[in-house]
Amino acid sequence: MNTMTDAGLLRDYEAHAATLPGAGSGWVDGLRKGGVHRFEGLGLPTRRVEEWKYTDLRTLASDPFGFADETTADVSIPDMDLGAEPYRAVFVNGRFHAGLSDLSGMPEGVVALPLAQAMQDSKAFLESYLGRIAMLGRRHFVALNTAWLADGFTLYVPDGMTIERPIELVFIGATGDTRAAWHPRNLFVLHPGAQATIVERHIGETGTYLANTVTEIVLAAGSRLNHFKLQDEAADAFHIATTQVHASADAVYENFSLMTGSSVARNQIGIELQASGSSCHLNGAYLGRGKQQLDTTTLIDHAAPDCKSTEIYKGALDERSKGVFQGRIVVHKDAQRTNGHQSNKALLLSNKAEIDAKPELEIYADDVVCSHGATVGELDEHALFYLRARGIPLEDARGLLIDAFVDGAIDEISNLAIREAFRSHAKAWQGGNS
């Protein structure tokens, strides 16, 4: 895979771009053009690109993707009990589906809109943030997403306001036999002291599609975002998600990502802890089987003193699946009294399964407490025998031990109802039901 390819991801761009929301308004066009230009220069990453060394995109690059137009396809959303009745925004093939969504009852002053609508209603707001958090840089998929910028979820929470009920964002892939790509773009802005809980669900029953999501998050001083994500895409899908967060003083960002779906997935989270007292807690679990590749890549920038970051990831990999964990923590020169802890633990359930873990600490300050740990293990034979000696069949005994292992990460989810919802999804994975 030496030659760069774009898998036809910009094919017929001009014709399609003219139909996208906001086309013809100068700044959106300009933003998109920047993305096109950058993606033309970058193409899809090969494994020669350092950040993509471990995840092989050859199956993604092998055949061209078409344009996913708005769809009226029948879709169903499996129930998920999130405790309180959530606000819900549903996107089918990347486009907002009003019929399945219900954003009514949002507190006064909150902006919660599909991006396509925000381009009309909240232009000035968008202009201040969109494309300013997730920079293009050498980010192939951010560039591609920006080129196709069309829809997604826009959230603004004003000063000191707490949105009590969770906001559920459901992204559904329904492409049937067509190989298609879409590029949701989310923007969450929390003003000082604001709080919100967002649950993203990425699902799809069938189809070879590329869901390439970019989420930009701005957390002003003292705000808190609880951000939970379930990635349960169709078995042949490609899921690439890039989340970029700017956190101001004393802001708290909590993220939990549970990955069970897709053939190739990359969950990339970047955080800039920009002012003192801000913190982030990035946790997750990735459960793979078949020939799945599940990649978790995190980059935490400690740019200010007295910030804290913790990471706890656990992976259970069966059959020929492969996990990737790249965790980079950079502590800048002035970021004294930084506290940063990272842990990735992988359980290999078959001798063909694989994990590539690459923790990186780059520390330029002298008064810091940082640690990282990466472990790889197998199911404990003694424990398995003990359970079987009590009459528990081998498969169930394995199940108990895998549950116990994954629970160690899931227990980090601060919201109890969502924790249980994610726990039952992880348990269902064991039975081959997710």
């Binding site: 003694h382 424990a383 003990y386 549950d403």
Partner: protein, 251 residues
Amino acid sequence: MNILSIKDLHATVDGKEILKGINLEMGAGEIHAIMGPNGSGKSTLSYVLSGRDGYEVTKGEVLYKGENLMEMLPEERAQAGVFLAFQYPVEIPGVPTVTFLKQAMNSVRKARGEKELDAFEFKKIMDARLKELSIVNDMVRRALNTGFSGGEKKRMEVLQMAMLEPSLAILDETDSGLDIDALKTVADGVNALRAEDRSMLVITHYQRLLDYIVPDHVHVLAGGRIILSGDKSLALELEAKGYADIVAAAA
């Protein structure tokens, strides 16, 4: 029909023969003690009977209630009523003891064609057993064996035995690592489980356990064979003379 019938059993571990022709017959409700010096094959025997990987039977047969025990998976043996009380119960962090107990009981019931217990029915049975064995509730709320003291681990084994109601219980060095008070507590628990349809194979290095769990028969295992059998007085003789003399005399 005997509950357990072992005929000329040979077994190897890592290619090395440890059991060199064991013969043993156990009737229903009988308690047999197997005593022997370190390295005589005591633990190997318990693992062979319970089906642990890595223990290869090279010759002989083991019949449990007339069935070939060696052809059964470890879980099938447990479901059929064979119970091994481990010398070193395994700590399993993250698995709540209650969850484990319920799953074990229901696995066994399911295999026996009995109805699985719901949470309420299960709790009733568990609470009754906890009370009989004077075990505090707190123990079953913790992760299985995790951070348990030596005595707690052995009591947890007895609790499991009480709940799974085996026909054949193998107690592998149940006395190891226990002080005298803990030993008495555990022995009381075991004695409470003595029944006409329950046989026990008590494997131990020391006679002192047999003061509390009094056997019907005592066998001396040395060099992978049973070299001497007798009644409970044999255990006292061993205690008085030591293994060296007995083994030498029997050779």
